[in-house]
Symmetry: C2
Subunit: 341 residues, 2 copies
């Protein structure tokens, strides 16, 4: 299929293209390569590599550019040994263990760090909420017509929701809160349904009316809780990437990120644990077919994962990004498993 020398040449071409962004010619490779090969030979090999679909020419008299397939074989053959030095590792770890309390903040911090290192956009997902058990709950009076509902899950995620709810006192709300919690504690959010809520009536005989009023509001509210939340860091980086810096493309990217549902699409295509790489057309999300996406998962609790993705042009530093992402996600897993407490 592809012989050793061809692979070596392909790697050199891609390395050069990633660095320069311009099509790579045979002479450049001939000079660089330690193989002691003339440009004519390189030309012959390049022609073969093009026939195999790993390279293409933007126009006849230009150098070569890697195709998605070319990037793929390049990435698969990448060696990650010593990609990250001890210094870098220590720096990353110390920046991750920065004393943030909330899981959200830790993740946001990590995403920002990766964005800084890679100069690309980072998308992170927080652990889910719907699939976790309710561990605490409180209704708090905001005003005569509004009540705040606070939900806390056993993975320490906090949700607050404002309900329209009038004519009550905090004392009554406290009683209702206690009763709700008694009945719902331990249920997962998605298991909380009308039946469970309605049972409260037996528990709170004096407040039947209030319960009747509250049930439909609560049901609708719970139904609309998002399963996962997302965080984007380093969007501004993309505005400096030549591939995206014209106004129209930048705007499309911005608008893409405004609709949170895109993040679900992006992450749902990743089914494996650990590092996953989607190059160009390999992406199922249409808007990202000009991009590469490197994703990793971090372990949050026993069986719960969050994901972190780096998004950028296909021409990106795969080696560095993979190593960084791998190290950060491992460190996050350690942090959440309590190793650094």
């Amino acid at each position: 299929m592809i012989n050793n020398r061809q692979l070596k040449i392909l790697q050199l071409i891609i390395d050069d293209f990633i660095a320069s962004g311009t099509p790579v010619g045979s002479r450049t490779i001939s000079k660089k390569s330690s193989l002691g090969i003339s440009s004519a030979t390189v030309r012959n090999e390049m022609a073969d590599l093009e026939d195999l679909g790993y390279l293409y020419q933007p126009h006849t008299s230009a150098g070569r550019i890697p195709s998605d397939q070319g990037y793929r074989i390049y990435v698969d053959s990448l060696s990650l040994d010593r990609a990250l030095g001890l210094k870098e590792r220590n720096l990353i770890r110390s920046l991750l263990i920065s004393g943030k309390i909330k899981a959200e903040e830790v993740i946001a911090n990590a995403a920002e760090l990766i964005a800084g290192i890679t100069g690309l956009v980072v998308i992170a997902s927080y652990p889910g909420f719907k699939k976790h058990a309710l561990s605490n709950l409180k209704l708090i009076k905001i005003s005569d017509s509004k009540v705040l509902l606070i939900l806390i899950s056993d993975n320490e995620v906090v949700k607050d929701l404002t309900l329209s709810f009038s004519g009550t006192t905090q004392a009554v709300l406290d009683e209702i809160s206690d009763a709700l919690l008694r009945n719902l504690e331990g249920s997962t959010i998605e298991d909380i349904n009308v039946k469970k809520i309605s049972k409260l009536k037996y528990d709170l005989e004096n407040y039947e009316e209030v319960i009747d009023y509250l049930v439909p509001i609560l049901r609708d509210t719970l139904r609309n809780i998002d399963e996962v939340e997302y965080r984007v860091e380093g969007f501004d980086n993309i505005l400096s990437v030549p591939e995206f810096s014209d106004g129209l493309k930048a705007r499309r990217m911005y608008q893409l990120f405004e609709n949170k549902s895109i993040f679900k699409d992006i992450f749902d295509q990743i089914t494996t644990e650990g590092i996953d790489i989607k190059i160009g057309e390999e992406n199922e999300v249409a808007e990202l077919k000009e991009c590469s996406l490197i994703t990793t998962t971090y372990r949050y609790q026993a069986r719960d994962f969050g994901k972190i993705a780096v998004l950028g042009p296909k021409r990106m530093d795969y080696r560095g990004i993979i190593s960084t992402l791998e190290y950060v996600s491992n460190t996050l897993s350690d942090i959440f498993s309590g190793i650094y407490l």
Copy 2:
């Protein structure tokens, strides 16, 4: 100083420049104007207007562009009668009264609406928190080591803060919450100090230790509550504005908005109530000296105001934006005063 005809010509030039974005020549004005004036005459007047500092030429053989001073006199002479038709007013009002519950959502909604209408960036500030009285408070257990503090002010703003706080039960937290509220209710957030919190000890004899632990945490937390929060809508619009659409400028703008403190600077320069217009160099914020900023205030409660600003290139539709902003802020004031309940 400047005579009637000169003003008229200046207005025509600026109208044309706002619409076209290209320097305006004497022939264009001569044809458009109802004054029945030849291009030569217009040229003479234009030369005078340039001497007066209202116009300038980007290069010798080009038409004229308004200076900041020119925009200023143009804006000051603007008539706003019937700038907004009944249809538009009704549409705006109906979109504002969209059944949102939270004040934050109402404002975000309004900002988005204005961004859509004007095609520019909108920055809105929510009413403050520190200067309002505390109306409700609750400590909620998140996990063994974390507690959530919910603060509600009498202007219905909700703040939630996560505290590091271990080894307690919800029952204890409820008692402490009640005691805290008894002592602090009605105080403004900025008035809550160590002395007030410490008095709790007399109220909660059994929990001295807990209180000792809580006091410094609470004090630091309260000190760090932001006075005002901000919301930006329509940032993507700026990516389509020719004046800002190159990558570097767009990135600078994005980064400018990432540091929330810039919003304080932007709004602090506005001291008047109602519509305020800052054109180019009139802006005290250095990064906005190429922009125009139109701000308005809306009344939230008796003596509390929020602000909404439209930010864009100096070449913007002042008339339309001012009218829209004025109408929206008035309608918001009405909504918050309860007229539409």
